[in-house]
Symmetry: C2
Subunit: 650 residues, 2 copies
């Protein structure tokens, strides 16, 4: 169904948000207790819409690609995230106002203050300040309330612009230096700030009555999938490539969340982990998508200081090397198809590659599907190549092999470093630490072994620090031998690489609201949410023209047909006018209306109304329901779906 939006009313975020709260799409959680920043509840229409989006996601990805869906726990022991790197690196930098106790996210604060100074400078120079210019930054409500018109030196302007271009790349101490150098203070009070400290974004808790098993709420569903890798591979009869998938809540203890559904502390994710042979990242279904044309913003363009999109087919993008491989390209195209299906505007969708300094610690490459909203371009789907990072670190930590094996067409000779331990000497020398030292040595990588071999040769010993062992550990050739060894292999054993499309469902849901919200011509009050029928919370509004008992049997009849067909519907038999009843449901995104009038009582005919065009057609109950089914679930358009029905003018 193509959306016809006959309007002359400009988009207003405020009126959309009022609608979403008034009709309980969502609301701040615990509102009667004053609410908690970054926590939101979905009411009936929001929840139904979200469920439908998930249902489409499951069919589009899991069913279509035979993915292995798993449901893993959110409670996760400390060790898992220590290994994955989240304990050390999943954090933001915050600084505190010593006096008021107020806490700021350091990068956001520096960014906002410098931006406001640049704006003040422009005003002082008499240049007009376009609001659009910094729409990307409106993601959060401003801390800086007032812009002061102060002219800056030209070299200062240049320096600020330079800082802003790389704002996502600074470390905490660097942010601290910027804060001092540029005299950045609490914008509200001018108060001094403490140097930035790291704040880990995971919520922590403890499992069990003794309280000594430290745990976190997961910040992503991915780890649960990686830890089950061996079971999944076995379930898949040891065949590669394959993908697992998981839909569930994750958590981030944001420092100061302030952008509605776009930055929340508890959120629904849908994540795919597609495991591939690092030597073969081709995709068998790549041909199906290679002609899909998309708009890309690659790393190189951004690094040259531009935001110009490059439009090309996925096939071209892969063959020219801009997108690294077919599997990555395939998922980018499938993500696009999914987003369009659930109501994203293709003209407000781009794929942006991460720059090297903004990538998550586990990623080797990443393309984000970004949706354009009144807050700017919003990252809604990440499509990262996590390489062999996660499987490798968990394997090294637990001693459990997480690998796939492939018979070689021809045997091959490999040279590898092998380590040999004089185990009998370990006990006397290391006593209670012997097992730890052994385990540590046996889980070293090839690179590390090469390094050890060199050291042993050059210095006659290795000195190492080992987790869980006090003091330095010294090893000499009496204890270990490291040699390069030739072996003939018939089977290649490898740690799979992972391509991870990761969807933030709440952000997508909010963006669709923005893309599909409009108001009818000359009437800003008559908001419409043109949600695609497939994902609309309710598909049909049943409207009897009057409360007359004559119409009741027809209402019952239509209801029972709709219920039998499992088409979600609502009845509105209130005394409000037909127009008012439809207007209320336009706000809820209900795509169809069935009007029951006195003619219906005579011949079982009813009127079918389409939400966006307000066009009406008439036919028998079964014809009308059939049209609704075809348009909603089979993707037929309105004209074709209602071809056999008569036009109707009320």
């Amino acid at each position: 169904m193509s959306v016809v939006k006959d309007t002359n009313i400009p988009f207003s975020r405020e009126s959309l948000e009022q609608l979403l709260k008034r009709r309980f799409f969502y609301a701040p959680s615990f509102e009667i207790y004053g609410g908690v920043a970054g926590l939101f509840d979905f009411g009936p229409p929001g929840c139904a819409f979200q469920n439908n989006v998930i249902d489409v996601w499951r069919k589009h990805f899991i069913l279509e690609e035979d993915m292995l869906e798993v449901d893993t726990t959110m409670l996760t022991p400390y060790e898992v995230f220590k290994t994955s790197g989240h304990v050390d690196r999943f954090s933001d930098w915050m600084c505190k106002d010593l006096k008021t106790g107020e806490i700021f996210r350091a990068d956001h604060l520096v960014e906002e203050v410098l931006e406001s100074r640049l704006k003040g400078d422009k005003s002082a120079r008499g240049e007009s300040v376009k609001d659009e210019e910094d729409e990307d930054k409106k993601k959060r409500k401003k801390k800086v309330k007032e812009i002061k018109n102060i002219k800056l030196e030209d070299d200062v302007v240049e320096e600020y612009e330079n800082i802003l271009a790389q704002i996502d790349g600074y470390s905490g101490p660097q942010l601290g230096e910027l804060i001092i150098k540029h005299n950045i203070t609490n914008p509200a009070t001018g108060g001094a700030l403490e140097p930035p400290i790291e704040f880990n974004l995971m919520f922590d808790t403890a499992i069990g009555p003794a309280g000594n098993l430290k745990a976190f709420l997961r910040p992503e569903t991915a780890q649960g999938q990686f830890l089950n890798f061996n079971k999944l591979l076995e379930f898949n009869n040891d065949k590669m490539p394959f993908a697992s998938a998981s839909i569930g809540k994750s958590f981030r203890n944001e420092i100061a969340p302030r952008a509605g559904l776009l930055r929340v502390r508890e959120f629904l994710m849908a994540e795919i982990e597609h495991f591939v042979d690092p030597e073969d990242k081709s995709h068998p279904k790549f041909d199906d998508v290679k002609d899909v044309k998309l708009r890309f913003l690659p790393k190189k363009v951004q690094e040259s200081g531009s935001n110009d999109l490059i439009e090309m087919s996925v096939g071209e993008a892969v063959s020219c090397g801009m997108v690294d491989n077919e599997t990555l390209g395939y998922f980018i195209a499938r993500i696009y198809a999914f987003l369009i299906k659930i109501g994203c505007d293709p003209n407000r969708l781009r794929f942006r590659q991460h720059m090297s300094n903004e990538m998550a610690h586990y990623a080797s490459d990443c393309w984000d599907a970004e949706l354009h909203t009144s807050y700017g371009w919003i990252e809604c789907v990440g499509c990262a190549d996590r390489s062999a990072y996660d499987l490798s670190v968990h394997s090294a930590r637990t001693g459990e092999k997480l690998v796939s094996r492939k018979a070689l067409s021809e045997p091959r000779t490999v040279e590898e470093f092998e380590i040999e331990l004089a185990k009998k000497k370990f006990g006397p020398k290391f006593r209670k630490d012997a097992a730890t030292v052994e385990k540590w040595l046996l889980s070293r990588t090839q690179c590390e072994l090469e390094d050890f071999a060199k050291k042993l040769e050059e210095h006659g010993r290795i000195v190492a620090r080992i987790d869980g062992v006090e003091g330095a550990v010294e090893l000499d050739p009496e204890l270990i031998k490291i040699e390069k060894v030739k072996r003939t292999e018939h089977v290649r054993e490898f740690t799979p690489n992972v391509i991870e499309p990761s969807f933030g469902i709440g952000r997508i849901v909010y963006s669709v609201f923005e893309h599909q919200y409009w108001a009818r011509k000359d009437d800003a009050e008559r908001g419409v949410l043109s949600l695609p029928p497939l994902v609309a919370p309710t598909k049909v509004l049943l409207v009897p023209l009057s409360n007359s008992s004559e119409l009741q049997p027809i209402v019952k009849k239509v209801s029972s047909v709709l219920r039998k067909e499992k088409i979600p519907f609502k009845i509105d038999d209130s005394s409000a006018s037909i127009g008012k009843r439809y207007a209320r449901n336009d706000e809820l995104g209900t795509p169809f209306g069935i009007t029951i009038d006195f003619e219906s009582a005579k011949d079982d005919s009813v009127t079918l109304r389409e939400r966006d065009s307000t066009k009406q057609v008439r036919g028998s109950i079964s014809e009308v329901v059939e049209a609704i089914k075809e348009i909603t679930y089979s993707g037929v358009d309105w004209t074709k779906g209602t071809a056999s029905l008569k036009p109707f003018n009320s």
Copy 2:
């Protein structure tokens, strides 16, 4: 589809559990890190089964009854659970072995030790000890490893039996007395135990960077629904009764979970909160269910020391007052229909009423749907009448009215206590506490006001302790006046009562596995999971007879038809024998097989196999797919669904 189980193999929990783990229905979470008790991951077939159960639940309850589904957060601030009573009362009693540090759940320990002594006594008396007798208690792995044959005095036996009959009703200090009196120690070491202390079962964490907003992970989804009551009522156009519903994870920090999926720390719940007028708990659709015959175990029977079930219709149960009201009866019948639909054995299902001493702190009446398993009778669905408890306490705490209003057919006169404050005197007297005292006074119940009025009259003052105010607060008639006042009301304002059907999905899922697991005649190795087609993880296994390229086009053709019809299927084109391939899928609960042979290549005909009976029929691709659809999604039985297909003997 009626299940035909041609077997002579007795049920074995061990072989079922092996199957469930081998085929990755579920597995301990973080197994490569050693696992965490009470946390489990669902693998592909378990996850798909669970999703299908949820899908049926949503259609059976939410869609059928027009319930308002919400999705609320798991992170919940301290205040909410302080008010709801969970901070003070949602706990178990635990005791610690001073020496080993081992922690026991006090009631379970007392129960287990006394039971083992009674068993030892029976053995010593030469009586046979039936295992069935205490199957209810097998829910957890035993702490007591060895039963000693020691004869007890007759009065001791009687005392132990008495204690066990009321074991769910003891307070912590009472359990402590029992432990001392009956010399109960650590069963493994004989070591002394510390007196029981209360352990709150909620996981705690903190929200925000300052760490001062204390929060819990919810132990139930209910509170999120209660807190949104006003928004839900408004969404429902202020009409009563109505129900909200929520599907999501909840958490319980169990002291020592040891019964697989039956006692876990993170679990999926589906909860309904049906809000009714306390003066009218009739249900408009009660007539539809009144003839459903169920097996009840009411409070009175249990209190008389019996476990005999009473079989009667829901209509009778309500009219004789055993089940309190129509709404409760309606939901009991609907719960029954749901459980049967997804594969529970009706002969292993009963409704047990809670005894007064075991009810949750918020409940005024409760019936559990219990399923019988090898662990005994397991509570899987609670159907509680929470009365006005939750809405009242949240309203009192927040000052937000959580009520419904109903126009009275005739105005009526009511007498109520009203409180009048001499506000001008509050400031000078209470200073900074004035607002707190005022708010506290204005949120008192009628009973409390009556009590105050009496005290004011008798003693000329009231002395109260108020949260947040230091010291006692003294109030006299100069400050407050409390009088009984007559008013004429045209509208009745009331706090709705709540009927809450609450489903533990994991427990139901596990029970269905037990109810539907069996092994083929004379072959204990050939396990079958007879999951109903509607909820089976995969509906169809596609089996080409050979790997010949001749059969490939038919495999593709059948696949594309199944995919178009959105019927989940898998292809097994491995070189294993047909029999072996089917056996593997019997374990996965796949109800249908389509065999593709060389005949298929000629005339497009295929064979359809039914899992439980292994019956086969033959027809065209479209006929066979139509039969699968009818049986799976429309509930048609095998005989009727395949009437037009030809019998086939391979």
